[in-house]
Symmetry: C2
Subunit: 318 residues, 2 copies
């Protein structure tokens, strides 16, 4: 397949690919992109090339996922890797880990898949008992914006938050005036489903954003983390045909084999992933490159980047 058909843009596509589902490690993607037989157009000017920036990064530009805060959602077709963000939802992260370690989720199911919105799992029969975890937690919609909370601000304007940026590789918003910070609802964000009451979510039902960022949910629901690998296992699920994308028949649901804390999984079975650090000069260069895409393909650089379009590359640990 020749260039003419193959392309929207190259650097951009690779970027989106890196930012997104991550079928491959960044390294593998870069290797593939350099394969001359692949339908990838000319390499962009190095200064504006995400792949080169990633390739030329140093070990200090990456951090390993914290095993104690990483969950493996094991589905019939593979593993979804979730990183929890205890800086923003300490009590919910702890409760979800307690649920995981009780085996609460094992054998439950994905009960909902709504187009351009969320996939959600829960106990479809609502019969499973909770042993050690709590059934009532105060909401963690925002946290206090403290000096020790990491936050690398983007200069870009945002309609949903006075300031946006990244906190330890999570997309986040901040309101200095109100003294609050929160995780943003981007594609791949993981949140705690709740009913009408703020404190009605306990982590027994979680959802993942599978479409365009529903940022109106920010500060209305507790975000606990982010899918860093395996999004395609959730986004390609058949959509539920019931209201709100719930499956109407039990057999339409996708069973959850298990959810595990990475630290509890034998070393040989772990996904050994690193994520880009967001408090480095390299990350700033990556964002700059995405904000003003160069190379031959782009005719008009955007001069702006949306928080939820910032790539957060992962790679297999070296």
């Amino acid at each position: 397949m020749s260039l003419r058909f193959a392309v929207i843009p190259s650097g951009k596509s690779l970027a989106a690919c890196v930012a997104a589902g991550l079928f491959l490690s960044v390294t593998a993607q870069v290797a593939q992109a350099k394969n001359k037989s692949a339908p990838v157009p000319a390499v962009q000017a190095s200064k504006f090339n995400l792949a080169d920036l990633v390739k030329n990064s140093s070990a200090a530009d990456w951090r390993a996922l914290n095993l104690e805060n990483t969950l493996y959602l094991e589905l019939p077709k593979g593993r979804v890797v979730i990183e929890l963000a205890p800086d923003f939802a300490p009590n919910h992260a702890q409760n979800i880990k307690a649920l995981v370690r009780e085996g609460y989720f094992d054998g439950l199911a994905i009960v909902r898949s709504q187009e351009n919105y969320v996939a959600q799992w829960a106990d479809p029969d609502e019969k499973r008992e909770v042993k050690t975890a709590k059934r009532k937690l105060d909401a963690e919609f925002t946290v206090k914006y403290a000096a020790n909370l990491p936050f690398t601000r983007l200069p870009d304007i945002d309609g949903y938050a006075p300031q946006v940026g990244h906190a330890n590789s999570f997309p986040a918003g901040r309101d200095p005036k109100a003294g609050t910070a929160w995780l943003a609802h981007c594609y791949a964000s993981v949140g705690v489903a709740r009913g009408t009451e703020s404190n009605s979510g306990d982590g027994t039902s979680l959802y993942v954003v599978t479409g365009h960022a529903p940022r109106q949910l920010d500060r209305n629901i507790t975000v606990v983390g982010r899918v860093v690998q395996g999004m395609e296992l959730l986004t390609t699920l058949p959509r539920g045909t019931g209201p709100l994308g719930f499956y109407e028949k039990p057999e339409e649901r996708t069973p959850i084999k298990a959810i595990k804390v990475a630290a509890d999984v034998p070393v040989s079975e772990r996904s050994k992933l690193e994520i880009i650090r967001t408090d480095t000069a390299t990350f700033k260069s990556i964002v700059d490159a995405q904000r003003n895409r160069g190379g031959e393909w782009y005719k008009v650089p955007a001069g702006h980047i949306d928080l939820c379009n910032v790539p957060l590359p992962i790679r297999v640990q070296k």
Copy 2:
């Protein structure tokens, strides 16, 4: 399934559902949402309820899809309905219709599905000949911002365009200073794949945005329209495992049974759809309701709406 598990939010979910894939007509969705046995929480205050606004709309709040500018992409699992936007890409719309009427696309395939980015179709073998359509067209990245170009501006800020709004039910950007307007890359936008040269896209390969809006593509590629129904047929396709989400093996591709212009299809086989008009008081109310969600579930109204989160309901013609 009870409320506690069922919900992220209700009005919002319904809104997203309406805005998104549209398994059901709005009417059917509203009917389902009112079914007491469905896992849908209490109805929101009428003033802030998308479903009620849609239900209470008048015939003048809707327009039928223009049959001459509507394409049916027929896939093995169903029909994707695309509305072309000749106001913004007159030459490309015309050329694509010429290709359609030649039968150019019939029997071709979806060759690419990249996570959180695009699905794209083309002639995988690049052997099909073009008969009456053109193989070279000037780019239509922007159009002249003329007084007669419809544009209902949103008051919301946007990082990618000085002004955003809707032009005849299409999300669009505008730059009064430069005197230009363009269709925005939102989820469901349809664009003309091209190579490095601006004029290298002729419509023989088209893509649909399947993830978070890649607005950096705005003004860099010709957007010709928008999928108004059937997005789930594209977003749930298995992702290609080659670079940029291209399928590596021919058998992984999804065959295109045919693409037809709606006007050429027998009346009985047409999808009789109406889309919300974007130049009405009703539409303004819908956007207001989405910008500041009320009801019992929302604790903090966003006070802002992203162009690509504005719902554009469709319904079956009455």
